[in-house]
Amino acid sequence: SAVISQKPSRDICQRGTSLTIQCQVDSQVTMMFWYRQQPGQSLTLIATANQGSEATYESGFVIDKFPISRPNLTFSTLTVSNMSPEDSSIYLCSGGGLYGYTFGSGTRLTVV
């Protein structure tokens, strides 16, 4: 199965700034996904990243706040824009298909 490298693993950011999280997959995957996870909670899907087209966002998430890039089948970025303390969370990327979805190791974001 694919291996996903996600970085940064953690960051502390000032409110009002932006952070870009990167995920690199060691093989081509059709779909990539971005999730948010509060500590001890389940995963909430932010958006599906499609290559060559705009990402598809879930209810409650908008492109202006969480712009996503998917330039090819092995790479994607998620930007958390104009951050507030409410954006403090763990962000994970995922890729793969029905034979199994691989996840990055997550980015723990703290906004102060």
Binding site: F33, S42, S94
Partner: protein, 115 residues
């Protein structure tokens, strides 16, 4: 809409014993896929086991096995000979295929292993 329910927020098991984690789901689809993921404190999501709905045989992976009851929409995970390294959050997840690759997750069960 598909939903996944894990009714046990926390479970504990003695080392070397067996524990079963419950998962139920709701769907009108007939062909779909079910997964169990493990998330230790390192945050890394690890695929434990996968089941295709059209297969009647329950999936097994070493000490991990499932009891898949399609009519009851139940997908429980059995961990045999529990080890300290099994301590983690366990998430049940569902995908209905048909061109959709999205996973729907349950709320998770925190498993503690007692030495």
């Amino acid at each position: 809409a598909q939903t996944v329910t894990q009714s046990q927020p926390e479970m504990s098991v003695q080392e070397a014993e067996t524990v079963t984690l419950s998962c139920t789901y709701d769907t009108s689809e007939s062909d779909y896929y079910l997964f169990w993921y493990k998330q230790p404190p390192s945050r890394q999501m690890i695929l434990v086991i996968r089941q295709e709905a059209y297969k009647q045989q329950n999936a097994t992976e070493n000490r991990f096995s499932v009891n898949f009851q399609k009519a009851a929409k139940s997908f429980s995970l059995k961990i045999s000979d529990s080890q300290l390294g099994d301590a983690a959050m366990y998430f049940c997840a569902f995908n209905y295929g048909a061109g959709s690759y999205q996973l729907t997750f349950g709320k998770g069960t925190k498993l503690s292993v007692i030495p």
